[in-house]
């Protein structure tokens, strides 16, 4: 049961993201603020940290590719960024600490890195001409707030799910 649960949660998060995307942008203080849901990558980081690096990377590549094909129409963008972010997170956690608060903070930091990397990429290919300051206020900050709320609420669920699967696997091997 738990075996199927991790891919299932990943699929659900993949589909839920665009539904949340429908509610964004919202108007706060006379300006449009974009809340970009990054649920899937946060979940994948947790899977990578608490369960298996290999699995997390495989999921990251598959879902990154699906994301590219369905939403972005630029193949290879998320398919590269998702696994890269996962790898960075796992590497960072290995060298700092595995406590959930640390992992949460690292995850949020990496979501910010992902967002900034995407901003850089789209500026590079000339899709957007948004000044960096505006990017911070209208996109990065609201996105980070929304995603931290999500992660604080559900981070422990992700952790226990990944942990249980990992324990189950160890027992299966014995």
């Amino acid at each position: 049961m738990i075996r199927l649960l991790i891919p299932l949660v990943a699929v659900v998060l993949f589909y839920v993201e665009p539904v949340f995307g429908l509610f964004s942008p919202i108007e706060v203080g006379g300006e449009l603020r974009y809340l970009i849901p990054r649920f899937l990558i946060m979940f994948l980081i947790f899977v990578g940290v608490y369960y298996s690096r290999q699995r997390a990377l495989v999921y990251a590549i598959i879902f990154g590719l699906l994301y590219d094909l369905f939403h972005i129409d630029i193949i290879g963008l998320y398919a590269f960024l998702y696994p890269a972010v996962c790898l960075l997170a796992i590497w960072a956690v290995k060298h700092i600490h595995k406590h959930i608060i640390v992992v949460t903070l690292i995850t949020l930091l990496l979501v910010a890195v992902l967002e900034t990397a995407l901003y850089g990429f789209f500026t590079l290919i000339g899709f957007i001409g948004m000044p960096f300051g505006e990017f911070i206020t209208t996109r990065l900050v609201p996105t980070m707030i929304a995603n931290s709320v999500f992660l604080v609420l559900l981070g422990w669920v992700f952790k226990s799910l990944a942990n249980r699967r990992s324990i189950q696997k160890r027992e299966g091997m014995l």
Partner: protein, 305 residues
């Protein structure tokens, strides 16, 4: 400190990066049509997405219903006032319609750029990273949707179809930064002034209508509609209202800021317009860009065609 990557992994990573960069450039260059694997993925993911979007729409519809129920009394009062006016306008409209039809019969004109067949669609997903303003809708080639068709809501034009698969299509909204995105528009009034919607002012949240002949007199408050001259859009879809008129950077033509009639924020149900009169293929999407490229380096190769 242990090594981040072993040598073998480093090579693997480098090869991966090279492949991905190649893929990115391939898909950036060839963005006109979805190839077969892309289409399959889009249709399958789109089907799954429906299972999640439909309940979400249902809930938002419910909230909207409750919301409008609370305003019913006020709205009723206001609408009753307008009802008298409406009857008069209705009578006039039917009279004008009849006359228009008679006149068309006399002239022998059957096709009209204004006529279109609406295809109703639900929004499946909005590009969640929202860098490009795109939505995916649940109607595709099998329902008669083709590239470059106009997409509107009840309020007005919102964008055009940029990619189709058998069961889904991708719509790029007017509020895009893409410089190749153009819509042929028309300022209504005593004299009709043509222009092109090019670009979006993110700060003011208004569209920019460029290349209006400076001989034409245009004012704030005039309505802007689609002209139907782009080849595929029907004529007469409301785009918005002029809020400011300026001259362009070179002082040769006028440009205007337009407040869009439709709201791009919460999109649930949209209408794709299928023009009934002959559609001319290859509207303003790629061709103008190519033409401009050609004129740009026309001096070198001298290829005028």
């Amino acid at each position: 400190m242990p090594q981040f990557f072993s040598n073998k992994r480093l090579i693997l990573l480098l090869v991966g990066v090279i492949v991905l960069v190649a893929l990115i450039f391939f898909s950036l260059r060839d963005r006109d049509h979805a190839n077969l694997p892309e289409q399959i993925v889009k249709d399958v993911v789109g089907f799954g997405q429906q299972l999640f979007s439909k309940p979400a729409h249902y809930i938002t519809d419910l909230v909207d219903d409750v919301d409008s129920l609370l305003n019913t009394y006020e709205e009723n009062q206001r609408l009753r006032k307008r009802l008298v006016e409406y009857a008069a306008v209705q009578a006039e409209l039917s009279d004008v319609r009849n006359e228009n039809k008679r006149l068309k019969d006399i002239v022998g004109k059957k096709d009209d750029l204004r006529d279109y067949e609406p295809i109703h669609a639900s929004v499946l997903a909005r590009n969640p990273d929202q860098w490009e303003e795109k939505i995916v809708i649940d109607r595709g080639e099998t329902h008669g949707i083709k590239k470059n068709m106009a997409v509107m809501t009840a309020d007005g034009l919102i964008g055009k179809v940029i990619l189709t698969t058998p069961f889904t299509s991708t719509v790029q909204l007017l509020a895009t930064q893409d410089p190749d995105y153009r819509v042929s528009a028309l300022v209504t009034g005593k004299t009709e002034a043509f222009g092109l919607i090019e670009g979006y002012d993110t700060e003011r949240r208004e569209l920019i209508l460029k290349r209006i002949d400076s001989a034409h007199e245009i004012k704030e408050g005039q309505k802007v509609i689609s002209s139907g001259l782009g080849g595929i859009f029907p004529k007469g879809l409301l785009i918005g209202e002029i809020t400011e008129v300026t001259t362009d950077d070179f002082g040769l033509t006028k440009q205007a800021h337009i407040k869009p009639a439709a709201d791009f924020a919460m999109l649930e149900h949209v209408i794709v317009t299928k023009r009934t009169s002959t559609a001319v293929d290859g509207s303003d999407a790629g061709n103008t860009g190519e033409a401009m490229d050609k004129t740009a380096d026309g001096g070198k190769d001298g290829d005028g065609s």
